[in-house]
């Protein structure tokens, strides 16, 4: 047991740990129980995504984008195809746009369910985690019905989607939404308003708005600090400007603005907003042919594009450089969870060991996306 600087202890929250969301190594310098510095060590899950993309064709990149953020694979696909369509200047049919939005929002609900459930697990509540997984399974069953896969879909292609919606899709989707909406109230009663949970999360790990902006944190983490910024409203892509939904922000419900509870609360509210969007999209779903605007050969003109979309983790950006051939020259993915992890050191100064894992859980990171 090494001792550094008098009575400081270096502790390794090692790559194998039940609570790091993936393989992440955190080197924590503590004084008894109080943390003074955290150094994250990354790279355990690096799979050379960006190098692979330089060797395979544009449509073959899509299975690789799935595997980066594996909890929100539809949104990762979405980001890539939106960037490609901007590069190639393709205008899509209405039906394709609506289908994409439905899938992306359902995946947002699924990803938030897992993020919130795993956070409850970190804090010690085992039952809400299993309940949320049970509801997530129903969403995954809907995805399986549409595109055959539960987690890594390869569904959104450049210029369209790979398959049309199967029979009775609207009925099944509405049935799920009607089943799921009261469940959110049940989760609130079981976990959110539980006094022990509030004691654990309120006032802990406060991320002030200016610190968040200077680190480049986006998405739910930024909205939890009170900044109203959502790419779907600020730089709308696809048909998000047609839907009527709010942007929930943290409101210091039980503690200071920007603490763990606010980030958690924003995720719960975002699930409700996503349900609203899916309902509106299902109601207005037009008919049409989805393969009309799909190019036979993907050969974009020379140039580059950077486009960002809103994934459940934050601001997902794709920078694609094309040199006119069928194989991209460079694909870079800007990962929102990476910036969220970078502010961990600053916001956990002075808190205890149990709080470090609590704060890490509230940032909702996915190592696949951080390490690509």
């Amino acid at each position: 047991m090494g001792v550094v600087q008098g009575d400081q202890m270096i502790l390794n929250i090692g790559p194998q740990h039940p609570s790091t969301h993936g393989v992440l190594r955190l080197e924590v310098m503590t004084d008894g129980e109080i943390v003074s510095r955290i150094t994250p060590h990354l790279g355990y899950l690096h799979r050379c995504f960006e190098k692979h993309c330089e060797n395979v064709t544009y449509e073959q990149v899509i299975p690789f984008t799935d595997r980066c953020d594996y909890l929100a694979a539809m949104n990762s696909n979405f980001g890539y195809v939106v960037a490609m369509e901007e590069l190639m200047d393709i205008k899509l049919t209405e039906r394709v746009e609506y289908i994409r939005v439905i899938m992306a929002e359902l995946n947002r609900i699924a990803s938030h369910l897992l993020g919130v459930g795993a956070y409850g697990l970190d804090v010690g509540a085992f039952t809400p985690f299993v309940h949320m997984l049970r509801d997530r399974e129903r969403i995954l069953d809907i995805f399986e019905y549409t595109c055959g896969a539960r987690l890594l879909y390869n569904y959104m292609w450049v210029g369209g989607v790979s398959h049309d919606l199967p029979k009775d899709f609207e009925k099944i989707c509405f049935r799920f939404l009607d089943y799921f909406e009261p469940k959110i109230d049940e989760y609130n009663q079981l976990l959110t308003y539980n006094k022990i949970f509030i004691e654990r999360t309120a006032d802990v790990g406060v991320l002030p708005a200016d610190v968040a902006i200077s680190y480049g944190v986006t998405g739910t983490n930024l909205r939890g600090s009170g900044v109203k910024w959502d790419v779907r409203k600020e730089e709308p892509y696809s048909i998000y400007d047609r839907f009527d939904f709010n942007i929930p922000i943290g409101e210091a419900k039980f503690g200071t603005l920007g603490d763990c509870f606010d980030r958690y609360w924003v995720r719960i509210l975002e699930m409700k907003e996503s349900i609203k969007i899916v309902r509106q999209a299902l109601k207005d779903l037009p008919s049409g042919d989805i393969f009309e605007t799909m190019p036979k050969k993907i050969r974009p003109p020379k140039g580059s594009v950077y486009r960002r979309t809103e994934s459940p983790r934050g601001d997902l950006g794709y920078y694609i450089v094309s040199d006119g051939t069928a194989v991209p020259e460079r694909v870079k993915m800007r990962s929102p969870a990476f910036t969220a992890l970078s502010c961990l050191d600053e916001i956990s100064q002075g808190w205890m060991m149990s709080d470090v894992l609590c704060i890490l859980g509230s940032l909702d990171i996915v190592l696949g996306e951080i390490d690509r």
Binding site: P18, S19, E33, L121, A125, T127, E199, M352, M353
Partner: protein, 359 residues
């Protein structure tokens, strides 16, 4: 009483060998208590898995269909687990403190099994009828802390040390409200002897309610809750399971133990649950008396009532575990010292005044 009974039988049947008689009586009763501990652990583990599964909308261990691979309803699952633990390889880390590592499980086990010796299972079945039964159980319950700290230190593992330190602080702190709350039945009945405490609760209030100490007095009701929750904290169960917090410390102070050594820890955790529930039942809920005052009281039925009430309290402990998140260490200490102890002291005061006014 059972040990005295056996010693008398031995002396009358075989002859006047006091030392041998004592050893035979202790060995047989100790064996029975060990069997009780093992059976309790097996049943409690199975019930815990099933209860947790049902609360999570899943089924837990099941075994159905051809082959019955875990018995119908998964009953044989605990047997399979026990056999697996017995035949597992015994690994001790090389840099661990060898002697302390091996001795720690023994100490915890001793703390658990001698606590079982004073519980009144029925009016005639009790290992030893001590005159200071309540005091004895509370005192013996704190032997476990030594074992836990030894286990945490000897593992030579920062995580285990964390868990052990937290556990030591927690158990020692929560002994105080538990002790203060158990004074309430002692004050009301005037005796520390468990059998007499239960006899005091004979009879009925207003003819229909049983005359349990819990119901006699609103302060006693409050004292029961404080005692029960402090007991949950003493046995390291959620929401106070910060020493063995799974998602933070992998397994806390038990991380380096595997196989049979871990089974001993496990056994003593469930035995501790049984002991504190048994004490709560004897002190507050009428022990082996039946809930319907006056009827169905006999030495054999008393056993049934005792085990029924203890099982109910153990079920409530499991209910707590699978519903609540866990408290952080400093919040735990806050709850103990700033909430429970003032309320417990107020209880003693209140019970005294109540008794003075209402007799």
């Amino acid at each position: 009483m059972t040990i005295d009974f056996i010693i008398n039988q031995f002396t009358s049947l075989i002859g006047d060998f006091p030392v041998v008689a004592f050893l035979v009586a202790c060995a047989s009763v100790g064996g029975l208590l060990f069997v009780l501990m093992a059976l309790n652990a097996m049943v409690a583990v199975y019930v815990e898995r099933k209860v947790s599964a049902f609360m999570m909308d899943r089924l837990g261990p099941m075994g159905q269909g051809p082959g019955l691979h875990a018995g119908k309803w998964g009953i044989l699952q605990t047997f399979a687990d026990a056999i697996k633990l017995l035949i597992k390889e015994d690994t001790i880390p090389k840099s661990a403190d060898q002697i302390l590592f091996k001795v720690a499980p023994f100490i915890i086990f001793i703390g658990a099994i001698i606590g079982l010796a004073a519980l009144p299972f029925s009016s005639t079945i009790q290992a030893v009828d001590l005159n200071v039964g309540v005091f004895y159980i509370i005192a013996v319950g704190s032997i476990g802390v030594i074992g836990i700290v030894m286990a945490g230190w000897a593992s030579n593992n920062k995580w285990s040390l964390y868990g052990a330190m937290r556990s030591a602080a927690q158990i020692i702190s929560y002994e105080i409200p538990a002790g203060l709350s158990i004074i309430v039945p002692i004050m009301m009945s005037g005796t520390m002897n468990l059998q007499e405490l239960i006899q005091y609760q004979d009879g009925s209030i207003l003819g229909i309610f049983p005359n349990w100490i819990m119901f006699q007095n609103p302060f006693a009701f409050l004292a029961f809750f404080i005692f029960f929750i402090s007991a949950v904290a003493e046995t390291n169960r959620t929401p106070f399971d910060i020493p063995e917090a799974e998602s933070e410390l992998v397994a806390g102070w038990m991380t380096e133990y595997s196989g049979f050594r871990w089974a001993v820890f496990f056994l003593s955790e469930y035995a501790n649950m049984f002991i504190v529930s048994g004490l709560a039942v004897a002190g507050f809920m009428g022990g082996w008396l039946s809930p319907i005052p006056g009827f169905l009281n006999s030495p054999v039925l008393g056993l049934f009532w005792f085990f029924g009430k203890v099982s109910f309290l153990i079920f409530i402990m499991m209910w707590f575990r699978w519903t609540f998140p866990r408290l952080r260490v400093d919040q735990l200490m806050y709850v103990c010292w700033k909430v429970f102890i003032p309320i417990a002291m107020m209880n003693i005061f209140g019970v005294g005044i109540w008794k003075l006014i209402f007799g």
